[in-house]
Amino acid sequence: MAADIAADFAIEMIGITKRFGPLTANRDVSFAVRKGEIHALVGENGAGKTTLMNVLFGMHLPDSGQIKVNGAQVEITSPQVAIGLGLGMVHQHFKLVPSLTVAENIFLGMEIVRGGLIDSASQVAAVRALSASSGLAVDPTRVVRDLSVGSEQRVEILKVLARGARIVILDEPTAVLTPQEGRDLFRTLRGFTDQGMTVILISHHLDEVLEVSDTVTVLRDGAVIGTEPAKGLTEARLAQMMVGRPVDFGRKRRDGTAGAPVLTLTRIHARDDRGLPALMDVSLTVHAGEIVAIAGVDGNGQTELAEVVAGLRGPSYGRMNLNGRDIAGAPADIVRGAGLAHVPADRLVRGVDVQASIMSNILMGRQDSSAFSKGGMIRWGRVRAEAAALIKRFDIRTQGPDASVKSLSGGNMQKVVLAREFSQGKQFLLIDQPTRGVDIGATEGIHDEIMRRRAEGVAILLISVQLDECMKLADRLLVMFQGCLVAELDPKTVTVNEIGLHMMGASHNRKASA
C-alpha cells in the first residue's frame, strides 16, 4: 500500500556521519522511510544502528548530514525536539519507574496538574481511552513493579503514543518476548501502520524482520549496504549482507556421546533478592561431553538458577552435586574447587574488574592456587606469563597483560572472561548469555570455542535467551518458565513454535489445571 506514495517520506536522513573520537559509527549514511510502512534496520552489534537512531532521536548530534521529517528539514538537538516532531522511541531496556503506576509512568514528564497537585483520576481515564483505541491492554492503576515484561513493553509503547508519536522507533522489541508475544506485537504494529503511522524496527532477528517489515535497510561497519523490499529477500542473503560473507546457520556438527553425570540438581528451590520464590522444584543433570541449554524469556528464574549453580545464592531446598561433591549452599570458592568454570551474564557487573589490569582479572579465582601462589604470596611473574599466553590464544586485542580492562572493547572484555574460565581445565562449564552484546563474527568464534570444550568432554550448562543459539549448540534443550523447568526438548526435531509455547507456559498451565 505504500508503493503508490513513494515520494512521501516520513523520515529522510541524508549523508549522516557521526564520529566518536577515532571511531566512525556512521559513515555517510542515507536512510529513508516511507510513510505508513514498517521499515527494518538490521545489522550486527556495532554496525551503527543504535547510533543512527540516537542521531535521529536527538541524543547525538551528527558531525555532518541532514535530516528531514515529513519532507521538512529539521535540526534535532534533543529527544524533546524529536518528540515534538512526532517521533517516539521504545528503548530495548525499558525506562519505567517500578514504584509508580502505569498511568503515572505514561504521563511522567507531562502530568495533568490541577491546583498544583497531580490529577491522577484524569490521567487514569486518559490511559484507559488510549489503551482502548490502540489495542494495547493495560491496567492504568497497577504498579509497574508487578507487571510482566510484555505488559511493560505495552506501557512503553503507550508512553510514546501518549506523546503524540506518529513515527515509532522500536529497538530490539522482541528480545524479551516469546515468539507468540512477538507476533502479537507485530499485529499491533501493523495496526499502527494501517492508521497511517510509521514504524522503524531495529532488529537482528532475521526471520522476524522478513516476516513483519515492508522494507529492510542493512548497515555494516557504519555504512549502508543496501535498502531492499522485504519481499524477495532471504535470511541467507540478509545475513550475507550483514556480515559480508556467507554465514553458517545450521546446527553445529557433533560427535561423541555423553559420558557420566557431572552436575546434578535435585528438586532445587530458591528465592530472589526480594524474597519471592524464583526457582521451584528444578531438577536437571548435565553429563560429560554434553551441552544442556536452558531457554526461556529473560526473568523466568535463569539468573537465580545460574547463581545457585555458581554458589552465589543459597538454595532454600534441594540437593546439588558436582563431580560427586555435595555443593548445595556451598560458597563459590568451594563450587569452583569442585570443578566449576563460569561465564556470567553481565560481564561488567560480575565478569571483570574494569579498573584492574587484564593480568589481575586473569588471576581471579586462582589467587590461592599453587600455580600462581606460594606461601600466600602471589607469583605475579607466572600470572603475567599466563595472561600473555591467553591474550595470544584468545586473540584479545590489547597492549598487553598490564593494560586495564576498561581500555578494551565489549567483545574483548568477553574474551578476557572466556580466556580465564575456559583455560582452567574444569569439568563443568556454566555459560550464561555467552554472546550478549557480541557481534556475529565474534559469536561464531565463541560458539566454536564452546563446541571445542564439549569435544574435550566438558559438561556444559548453557543459559541463553537467544533461541537460535540454544538450538544451534544444545544436545538437550530445557525450557524455563516462572522458575520451573517446563519441558525437555530435542533440538534436532523441535520447532521454534513449539519452544515458544513452552516459553509462555502453555504446557505448565495445562499441567497445573489438570
Binding site: 519507574v97 514504584s99 543459597g314
Partner: protein, 320 residues
C-alpha cells in the same frame, strides 16, 4: 500523688515534642535528598552552620527572624557547595559530606574566636531567642494547653511540615520528579526531566530545613552557641533517613523515638544519673534502631535459611 504522675507525663510529652522538633526538621530536609538519591551525610555540618549564623544574625539584626534568615542562608550555602560537588562534579557524597562537616566545625570555632575573641561558646544578652507562641483558647485549658501551646514557631512548623512534605513528595510534580530522579534517573532523563536540577533543588530544600533546625538549637530553648552544638543530631537524622527511606510519616515516627530518648534521658539526669551516660542514650538508641531495622529488612532468603538450619527436615536424603 496521682496528680504528680500526671504532670510528670504531660511535661514529658511536651519535652518530647520540643526535643523532636530539630531532628524532625533536619530529617524532613534530608527526606528530599534521600528521595532524590543522594546520601547526605552533610546534614550535621549544615545544622551547625545554621546554629552559629542564627546567633550571629540574631545579634546583628536584633531579631530572632533575622537570626533565622542568617542561619538558613549559611546552611543553604553549605548545601549549594555540597550539591555542586556531588551532583555537578560527581564527587563521592560521603567524602564531600564528611569534609563539609569538618569544615563547619572548624569554621564556627574559628569565627567564634575571630568575632568574639573567645573559645567554646557564645553567651550574650544581645542574642534574641525565638518567641513562644501561646495558642489562644487552648493555652489556658490545663492539660491540653501544656501539650499544645507555648512552643517556638519552629516546633509547630516542624510538625506541620510532615504533612506538607508528604504532599510535596507524593502529590506534586516537583516531588514526583525528585522521587523518579532517585529511583530511576535514566527513565527521568529519557523524558526530559533534568535529574541534576532535581538533585540541586532537593539539596537546597534540605539546606533550608537543616538551617532552620540549627537555628532552633541556638535560638529555641537554649539561647547560645556552643562549639559542635549540633552534637550528632544530623547523623541521627541520617540514621532515621536510612531506615525510613525518606518517607515523611516514618521519618516522624523515627524522630519521635529520638525525641523520646532525648527527653527521657534528660529526666534521668535530674534523677542523678551521670550526664555522660545520659548523653549516650540517644546515640545508643539510634544505632540500635539502625541495626534492628536493617535486621528486620533483611532478605527473606536469610530468614528462611535460618529456619531451614534449625528445622529437622532437610532435603538431603531424598533420592532421585
Amino acid at each position: 500523688m496521682e496528680i504528680l504522675t500526671q504532670v510528670f507525663t504531660i511535661s514529658l510529652i511536651a519535652a518530647i515534642l520540643r526535643t523532636t522538633a530539630p531532628i524532625l526538621l533536619v530529617a524532613l530536609g534530608g527526606a528530599f535528598t534521600t528521595k532524590a538519591g543522594i546520601f547526605n551525610i552533610g546534614l550535621e555540618g549544615q545544622m551547625l552552620m545554621g546554629a552559629f549564623f542564627g546567633v550571629l544574625g540574631s545579634m546583628w539584626t536584633g531579631s530572632a527572624l533575622g537570626g533565622l534568615v542568617f542561619g538558613v542562608t549559611a546552611s543553604v550555602l553549605m548545601a549549594v557547595i555540597f550539591s555542586v560537588f556531588v551532583v555537578t562534579l560527581r564527587a563521592n557524597e560521603v567524602v564531600v559530606g564528611l569534609a563539609l562537616n569538618i569544615m563547619a566545625g572548624g569554621l564556627t570555632i574559628s569565627l567564634t574566636k575571630a568575632i568574639f575573641g573567645v573559645r567554646g561558646s557564645i553567651v550574650n544578652p544581645a542574642i534574641v531567642g525565638m518567641p513562644r507562641i501561646h495558642v489562644p483558647l487552648i493555652h489556658d485549658i490545663r492539660p491540653l494547653g501544656q501539650i499544645l501551646s507555648g512552643y517556638t514557631p519552629l516546633v509547630y512548623t516542624a510538625f506541620a511540615l510532615v504533612f506538607l512534605v508528604w504532599v510535596i513528595l507524593f502529590r506534586t510534580r516537583l516531588g514526583l520528579y525528585i522521587r523518579v530522579t532517585g529511583e530511576k534517573p535514566e527513565a527521568a532523563q529519557s523524558l526530559g526531566i533534568r535529574t541534576a536540577r532535581m538533585q540541586h533543588i532537593a539539596s537546597l530544600i534540605c539546606g533550608v530545613l537543616a538551617g532552620a533546625a540549627g537555628v532552633h538549637l541556638s535560638l529555641g530553648y537554649i539561647v547560645m552557641f556552643a562549639e559542635n552544638m549540633s552534637s550528632g543530631r544530623g547523623f541521627m537524622a541520617v540514621a532515621v533517613l536510612i531506615f525510613s527511606g525518606g518517607d515523611p510519616v516514618k521519618v516522624l515516627l523515627g524522630c519521635l523515638l529520638f525525641g523520646f530518648a532525648d527527653a527521657a534521658s534528660l529526666r534521668l539526669q535530674t534523677m542523678g544519673v551521670s550526664s555522660y551516660l545520659v548523653l549516650m542514650v540517644p546515640f545508643v538508641v539510634s544505632v540500635s534502631a539502625l541495626f534492628l531495622l536493617s535486621w528486620r529488612q533483611r532478605p527473606k532468603i536469610i530468614r528462611e535459611t535460618l529456619q531451614h538450619l534449625t528445622a529437622p527436615v532437610v532435603a538431603k536424603g531424598q533420592g532421585s
